[in-house]
């Protein structure tokens, strides 16, 4: 996939015209290819861990699978309902209440409003936010936000679960609840693809690990094997 990052975040008409004339061809555009010749097949029952340095392209891979980025050439075939657990709270609108946001997020994930309204109770229960359901979420604390987002996102019936470093913070009680919920989720899903920096978590939960570096798969295989290789590389590069 060809990833284009436009250094100028405010592309203007004037700039476009000026660039055309001054023959500085896209000076501010960084263009690079990721995942050329990518051949990855993940089957039913797999739990794939994705590790790598920051900026290596792990989230991009997840986004490609999730349908946010489109491949420049080739095919990505996904069979099953995709549940993205990336950056919780992306679809939250600050002006709306907790309950309304639950419905909105669920609808974005593909459910109908009616289905979501039925699930709202359960989600609010799990998050422990029943009393705050009518309050606009802009007034929520960050912990409450996280709980709301997490509960909404994990109340789905996933077939393909994409997780991007969501094992973040929360209070102790909720973390326990969340971890067991996650484990149940992982058991229920048919395929899990997980990006994380917590290598012991990866080793514990995954059946297969790929190591991404510079936009390509560098290693692919048994969790302990690949994580060891990655660690060795990291200490080699960073340690000395």
């Amino acid at each position: 996939m060809r990833f284009r990052s436009y250094g100028d975040s405010q592309p203007s008409l004037k700039q476009a015209v000026v660039d055309r004339f001054s023959r500085r061809k896209h000076k501010q555009t960084a263009e690079f290819w990721l995942y050329r010749d990518l051949n990855l097949t993940v089957g039913h029952g797999s739990r794939l861990g994705v590790i790598g340095a920051n900026g290596a392209g792990k989230s991009t891979l997840l986004k490609m699978i999730g349908g946010i980025y489109h491949p420049t050439s080739g095919t990505i075939r996904v069979t099953g309902q995709i549940a993205p657990l990336t950056d919780l709270g992306a679809g939250m609108l600050p002006e709306l209440s907790g309950a309304e946001n639950i419905v909105l997020n669920g609808v974005l994930l593909g459910y109908s409003a009616r289905e979501m309204k039925k699930k709202t109770e359960r989600i609010l229960d799990f998050a422990g936010l029943q009393e705050f359901r009518e309050m606009p979420i802009k007034y929520y604390s960050s912990g409450m936000m996280m709980r709301l987002a997490f509960s909404t996102a994990t109340d789905i019936d996933p077939e393909v679960l994409l997780i991007d470093e969501v094992f973040a913070s929360g209070d102790a009680e909720f973390v326990q609840k969340a971890t067991s919920k996650m484990e149940r989720l992982l058991d229920e899903s048919h395929i899990v693809i997980m990006v994380s920096h917590q290598l012991d978590l990866i080793k514990q939960m995954c059946t297969r690990v790929i190591w991404i570096d510079n936009g390509d798969i560098v290693s692919d295989g048994e969790p302990s094997e690949v994580t060891d290789k990655y660690l060795a590389h990291a200490s080699l590069v960073g340690g000395s």
Binding site: H70, P71, T72, T75, L96, V107, L108
Partner: protein, 288 residues
């Protein structure tokens, strides 16, 4: 538990070939059908977006939902006072004429300005969750349509006070709305593409809208400025708005020419907007 239909999603991109090839007839019919299906599948999202937008807009205000009626009413009252007392156009029941053109215009202008920035405003969402991008401008147009409905209610109340005539020509309104809706959606998609790629267009478009307003027979009839007739006739909105004016003010049936021009213009605009959208569908994300 009822599952929503799992979609076997296959993303296939075949690059290469010119744009013309990609919009070749056979492929485009299949593509259009797929897109229509995707649009239908996204109807829940559209409904949520629309109701969310309207709720947010009026939640924090005192009058709340009443604003949907009061706001257009106030505008119409002010404008009709200005234009019938200050600037004179010799017309019987001028306010009726004004409103019949103004309300569809407001729908158009509001849709375009909202559609233009629809992707930019929602970029956080788009970058994280896979959503059919066409739903954003579509929702913007639907919001404007709902507001237009309320404005029409307010307008009918006002018309009763003004003693306006109601005739069978009201039947023209749905036809006019259908054409205008298609036209607006097309222009909205174009605006969205332009604005997402070059941010200036947000402002350029708003200025263009102002200019267009005066080039459309809303505050004056075509007959009042015969010298400008060619300009007015070149403006597709003059034709589309005429349906509303025929139905509400003139109480005459539109000519065949009007029907033909309106349908051609609205379908063409929709096609252009849609073609642009398909061409750049996968590139918007990089511009947000």
């Amino acid at each position: 538990m009822p599952r929503r239909s799992s979609v076997n999603r296959v993303s296939t991109v075949e690059r290469g070939g010119s744009v013309a090839e990609r919009i070749s007839p056979l492929r485009s019919f299949r593509c259009i059908r797929d897109d229509l299906r995707r649009l239908l599948a996204g109807r829940h999202i559209v409904r949520e977006f629309v109701s969310t937008t309207l709720r947010i807009r009026y939640r924090t205000s005192f009058l709340g939902f009443l604003w949907t009626l009061v706001h257009p009413l106030l505008i119409l009252i002010v404008l009709s006072l200005v234009f019938s007392k200050v600037l004179r156009f010799e017309m019987d029941q001028y306010p009726v004429f004004l409103f019949s053109g103004l309300i569809p215009w407001q729908f158009f202008a509001a849709s375009i300005s909202a559609s233009g920035t629809s992707l930019l405003v929602n970029q956080g969402l788009i970058r994280k969750i896979r959503v059919n991008l066409m739903l954003f401008p579509f929702s913007a147009v639907m919001v404007a349509a709902v507001n237009m409905m309320f404005a029409m209610i307010a307008m009918s109340v006002l018309f009763m006070f003004l003693g306006a005539r109601i005739s069978v020509h009201l039947i023209l309104l749905p036809a006019g709305m259908a054409f205008l809706f298609m036209f607006t959606l097309g222009v909205g998609l174009i605006a969205m593409t332009l604005t997402t790629f070059l941010r200036d267009f947000e402002h350029i478009i708003s200025v263009l809208m102002q200019a267009l307003f005066f080039c459309t027979p809303i505050i004056y009839p075509v007959t009042a400025v015969p010298t400008l007739a060619p300009l007015l006739n070149a403006n597709p909105l003059s034709w589309l708005l005429a349906f509303f004016q025929h139905g509400l003010y003139y109480h005459t049936w539109p000519t065949a020419q009007l029907w033909v021009v309106s349908s051609v213009v609205s379908l063409t605009m929709l096609f252009i907007g849609y073609a642009l959208y398909r061409r750049y569908e996968h590139e918007y994300i990089f511009r947000l």
